[in-house]
């Protein structure tokens, strides 16, 4: 096996400060696609998204259609997952509910990250008292249990789909804030080393270009894992009487509403829980693989 000669000096080319985005993503994707378990997770997630989008084609019932003669009926051929307290076909509500639940998970997760990036960047960029204030606020928010934050915000904003998204998003942004801020700070430091080259008025945009790539990969992982968390969280809020409530066909709301009938009609509780479990499970499988693919050194 003849190997190439090493040439001295070949490796001293000045490294670009921006990580090679394209190479990194391609490598990550390659590693990921080889991970069978992660792929199962991804396919599972996509499948669930697909069936909720294609709900109208899968079930003939509409999620609002109330058949008052068939209240709370157990699973049967006509209604594979039974009906709820108002005679609505459960399976149809669950399938359509996927749009709401997964949508809620994705948007609150995304919103959380966006808020985090913006605030973290501001904190890191301006430094000084702005930074201090933001960090103190983060400390305080972390002291308050996450569910509590979402609860008090929900009290202010009320129940409902969109406000729940906001409430959940705010509860979880402190981690993202810290991460972003750390990145901004380290970039700032190295920027100042090139003081001669940096023109201050352009530094905002430079930082934006430099922060994002570095922050992207842990953020992506965070985003993925958070989705399932948010869905479960929201279900918890529904149980307390906040969050999403009926008649919105969201899995958590349905699960919560079914609680009252648990003794007589357990199917009302079992099925939504299964769906929530399923999406969490697939996301976890995928997320685990994603974490390994992003940083193989952490793999055990």
């Amino acid at each position: 096996m003849i190997t190439q000669k090493t040439r001295p000096g070949a490796s001293t080319v000045a490294l670009a400060r921006r990580p090679k985005k394209e190479g990194m993503w391609k490598r990550t994707f390659k590693r990921l696609s080889k991970d069978k378990v992660a792929m199962i997770g991804l396919i599972g997630v996509l499948l669930m998204i697909l069936i909720s989008i294609l709900a109208p084609y899968i079930t003939k019932y509409s999620p609002e259609e109330m058949i008052l003669t068939e209240i709370n009926s157990s699973p049967s051929w006509a209604h594979p997952m039974g009906t709820d307290a108002l005679g609505r076909d459960y399976m149809s509500r669950l399938l359509y509910g996927g749009r709401f639940s997964i949508g809620l998970g994705v948007s609150s997760s995304l919103l959380s990250i966006l808020i985090g990036i913006v605030i973290g960047s501001i904190a890191g960029y301006f430094g000084g008292w702005v930074d201090n204030t933001v960090m103190r606020l983060c400390d305080i928010i972390q002291a308050i249990p996450g569910v509590m934050i979402s609860i008090i915000i929900s009290l202010v904003l009320g129940t409902g789909y969109f406000v729940t998204i906001v409430a959940l998003a705010i509860g979880g942004c402190s981690h993202v804030i810290r991460m972003t801020r750390a990145q901004v700070l380290s970039v700032r430091k190295s920027e100042y080393l090139d003081a001669a080259k940096t023109v201050n008025c352009g530094s905002g945009r430079i930082m934006f270009k430099h922060i994002l790539p570095n922050v992207m990969s842990p953020m992506l992982l965070d985003f993925t894992m958070r989705i399932a968390n948010m869905i479960q969280f929201s279900a918890g809020l529904s149980v307390i009487g906040l969050g999403v409530q009926q008649p919105t066909p969201e899995w958590g709301a349905m699960l919560s509403a079914g609680r009252n009938y648990i003794m007589t009609y357990p199917h009302l509780v079992i099925f939504p829980g299964l769906f929530i479990f399923a999406i969490s499970f697939f996301i976890n499988l995928f997320g685990d693989g994603l974490r390994d693919a992003l940083d193989p050194k952490l793999k055990k």
Partner: protein, 366 residues
């Protein structure tokens, strides 16, 4: 070292005060007129106005905030329940121990079961113990906690009639709530422990120990575990915080008369002083617990302890976070972040829960 502890205590106190301010401020904006809620919509406007004045609701915001803070932290009075007229504090004093007990039991079960499973899996890496853990842990972590609780109720209470599903009369009442909370916790902790032990297993000092002529078992107990369990401290601590802070849903489902149910009922009744008081108390608890965990971590790892002591001597930079990088360059939880937990209250990524161990970027500020 003592100086460091005192400084951290002071900072924790500030955080708690800050949390109280934030909580009060947010809840100030909750819609609805408390006087109206109390007296009912049909009450006469003059009565409502009088009530408002009695409750101090006409005062400017800062006055209300000020009197709330004063009452809460100097007089230990968290207000009076609008619905029941009882003191919030007395309600909490009655219920907090129960919630605390529930959380403690859950953590104990989790630790006693989870750590050995994780250690076992790591030592027999690749063997059946390992594979069973990895596969099943994923499963149990994904199960929504309160759904599990409901399922357990269906099976054990309703069908088998073995265990009670509500109340607090007997010790049996604790079983189902603890199990529901512990299952995801065990799965998570086992994974974390496994990960942490694996990091240690290949360490050079383990080879050194073998070269001295030590048997495997003593090596595990004297060299591996003390090092591997250090990150587990922080994980367990934050788990405990979440158990207590996030118990609200479990308590509602099991009608367990703790802080969570107190709060949950108050939300339904729009009895906001209780809600406020509960959140403040839980925030205080969480902040103190995190401090304890941080200090415990410091004591366990000699190098961190020295760093804490050193940083206390540095001129007060008000940061209070032991500014350090983990000496072995790994994160406090052994390189593996806990997966999505079914625990309500888990919406923060785990790094959040350890105030002392921030990323390296923190070192960069003045």
């Amino acid at each position: 070292m003592v100086r460091y502890i005192l400084r951290r205590l002071l900072l924790t106190a500030i955080v708690i005060l800050g949390a109280a301010v934030v909580i009060f401020t947010v809840m100030y904006f909750v819609p609805g007129d408390p006087a109206e809620i109390l007296l009912g919509v049909t009450a006469a406007p003059e009565d409502i106005a009088a009530k408002r004045e009695a409750l101090g609701l006409d005062e400017p915001f800062f006055v209300q905030l000020g009197s709330f803070m004063y009452n809460a932290f100097i007089k230990f009075d968290l207000g009076t329940s609008w619905a029941r007229g009882t003191s919030v504090m007395s309600g909490l004093i009655e219920r907090l121990p129960r919630t605390f007990m529930l959380g403690l039991l859950t953590v104990l079960v989790t630790v006693v079961v989870g750590i050995p499973i994780g250690v076992n899996a790591a030592i027999h890496r690749g063997g059946w113990q390992d594979r069973v853990l990895m596969v099943s842990s994923m499963f149990f972590i994904s199960v929504p906690e309160f759904w599990l609780a409901l399922m357990l109720i269906i099976v054990f209470s309703l069908n088998l009639g073995l265990l009670p599903s509500f109340g607090i009369e007997s010790w049996k009442c604790y079983i189902l709530p603890v199990v529901s909370g512990a299952i995801a916790g065990i799965a998570n902790l086992a994974r974390q422990t496994r990960s942490s032990v694996l990091e240690v297993v290949r360490a050079d000092y383990i080879t050194t120990a073998r070269a001295k002529g030590m048997k495997e078992r003593p090596i595990i107990y004297k060299h591996m575990l003390p090092n591997a369990l250090i990150p587990v401290i922080t994980v367990t601590g934050s788990f405990f915080a979440r158990c207590v802070g996030g118990a609200i849903v479990i308590e509602k489902i099991f009608s367990f008369p703790g802080v969570g149910l107190y709060m949950s009922d108050a939300i339904t009744a729009r009895d906001y002083p209780i809600v406020r008081g509960c959140v403040v108390i839980l925030a205080a608890f969480t902040a103190l617990l995190m401090l304890v965990v941080d200090l415990a971590y410091g004591f366990a790892e000699p190098q961190i302890k020295a760093q804490y002591a050193k940083s206390a001597k540095r001129k007060g930079n008000g940061r209070g976070r032991g500014r350090h990088t983990h000496p072995r360059g790994r994160s406090p939880h052994g390189g593996e972040r806990p997966l999505v937990g079914a625990r309500v209250g888990d919406d923060q990524a785990p790094e959040d829960e350890q105030p002392g161990h921030e990323s390296q970027g923190e070192e960069g500020d003045q």
